[in-house]
């Protein structure tokens, strides 16, 4: 289980969540951030600091599409990439990924 960043984050990019994550498991796409479900420790520190209330707990069934999308960001090759990101062990040290999942890219294109 893990916390999940939903579509509210798209275009926001505030980043307070990154500053408070004790395990640095939040990664930066192009227009949205993503929580690595294997690295998240379910502490919930990110939820309260999000300015757009985009983050939900592991047992919140409202937006399963974003549970899958957060996972896909790490487990499937992103557009323009041949390998998945996997679990690099730290979003800050990994740096901005510069690309979003197809779901997010579609949402951005349609906006």
């Amino acid at each position: 289980m893990a916390y999940v960043i939903t579509g509210e984050c798209v275009g926001e990019m505030d980043g307070s969540c990154v500053d408070v994550c004790p395990v640095d498991c939040i990664y930066e796409g192009l227009e949205k951030r993503y929580i690595n479900p294997n690295e998240c420790i379910d502490c919930g520190a990110c939820v309260t600091v999000c300015p757009v209330s985009a983050i939900f707990g592991p047992n919140d069934p409202q937006q399963p599409i974003w549970v899958d999308d957060n996972r896909a960001f790490f487990e499937l090759p992103l557009p323009t990439r041949s390998e998945p990101i996997g679990d690099p062990g730290g979003g800050s040290s990994y740096g901005p990924v510069g690309v979003d999942t197809p779901l997010v890219a579609e949402q951005v294109a349609g906006a």
Binding site: G15, D19, P22, V23, E39, I41, C43, A45, G89, S92
Partner: protein, 334 residues
């Protein structure tokens, strides 16, 4: 060179409760933590949060729970080493274990109990400041009066950054608070106090470079993260206050069976390496539930099994505390 029956690595809830149990078993214990305080993750990250799932406490604030656990742990009279990270573990010919810390302490003990939670905390990286080798970087803040003749730049937007800015606002020659986001994540009341203070607040900006000479840092280049515009401010002390990041660290090299962020243990909390046990959030086994209350149980299981191993002939079961201990009026729950 400190010696003990048990070295407990990690002074969070599981480690503190384990320390208490070493007292019940009459074992000498050393408790070590990489943080400068007791209470681990609860004290560092959620001291004000209410916890609702500690047996017997319908609701208890993090800091109150730690206060009670600390009082309980101190009944065992542990030797406490704070701000030290355990780096190496070796088995000696006589079967005892030797652990060294980053502070150079060498501990000899009969058993090691790892209650390391999510790992040891290290300061969050801050590139421009981390590479600066001169004087003037204060990772630990001293008494406010020490800053009377200093221009201070504090970097960060959480509770420690804002609290330190408020603390130094009256005494330092000047205080500049640099935060790379548009909003602070600190307590509302602290942020309100900050806005009333003389602190110069620079939002959505980063310290891009530090400039200095033999006397230490003299200027900081501050860059706006969006516009890229820079300006230079005079500074004699930089306080990085970006908080901490946790990772398992050196114990991943101790020959333990590690799966992700966890150490695999048996039902007696043994790790597979002789006389090395683990308890709390750091353990894993089929059916593991990663909650504090489970950690308390594992701590008791680990210490009592260690006691029986260290003293052949002694039972694993410690007896009932109601028959062993006199009531002590401490903290919560009395």
């Amino acid at each position: 060179m400190p010696t003990a029956d048990i070295l407990i690595i990690g002074a969070g809830p599981a480690g503190l409760f384990a320390a208490y149990y070493t007292g019940v078993r009459g074992l000498r214990c050393i408790l070590v933590d990489s943080l400068p305080h007791l209470g681990g993750q609860v004290a560092a990250l959620y001291p004000e949060k209410f916890v609702y799932d500690v047996a017997g406490f319908p609701a208890v604030r993090g800091r109150e729970l730690i206060k009670g656990l600390t009082a309980q742990a101190l009944s065992a009279d542990p030797e406490i080493l704070l701000g030290e990270e355990c780096s190496t573990l070796e088995e000696r010919p006589d079967g005892t274990l030797r652990v060294t810390t980053t502070a150079g302490t060498e501990v000899t003990c009969g058993a090691v109990l790892i209650t390391g939670g999510i790992g040891r905390f290290v300061p969050r990286p801050l590139p421009a400041v981390d590479v600066y080798v001169g004087e003037g970087i204060h990772r630990v803040v001293g008494p406010a009066e020490d800053y009377a003749s200093h221009d201070v730049v504090i970097v960060g937007g959480g509770d420690s950054a804002v609290d330190w800015a408020n603390m130094l606002a009256e005494t330092a020659r000047s205080v500049t608070l640099v935060h790379r986001r548009a909003a602070f994540t600190a307590h509302e009341s602290s942020v309100a106090q900050l806005h009333e203070s003389s602190v110069r607040i620079v939002m959505e900006s980063e310290v891009a470079d530090l400039i200095g000479g033999n006397e230490g840092v003299t200027h900081a280049e501050i860059t706006h993260v969006k516009s890229g515009e820079s300006h230079i401010v005079p500074v004699s002390v930089v306080i990085p206050a970006l908080g901490h990041i946790a990772s398992l660290g050196p114990l991943t090299n101790w020959g333990l069976s590690i799966k992700g962020r966890q150490i695999e243990v048996g039902t007696d909390m043994s790790t597979g390496r002789s006389m090395v046990y683990a308890a709390g959030d750091i353990t894993d086994y089929p059916g593991k539930v990663r909650l504090m209350v489970v950690g308390f149980g594992e701590a008791a299981t680990a210490v009592n099994n260690i006691a029986a191993r260290l003293r052949p002939g002694e039972a694993v079961f410690p007896g009932h505390s109601s028959e062993l201990m006199r009531p002590v009026a401490v903290g919560i729950g009395v």
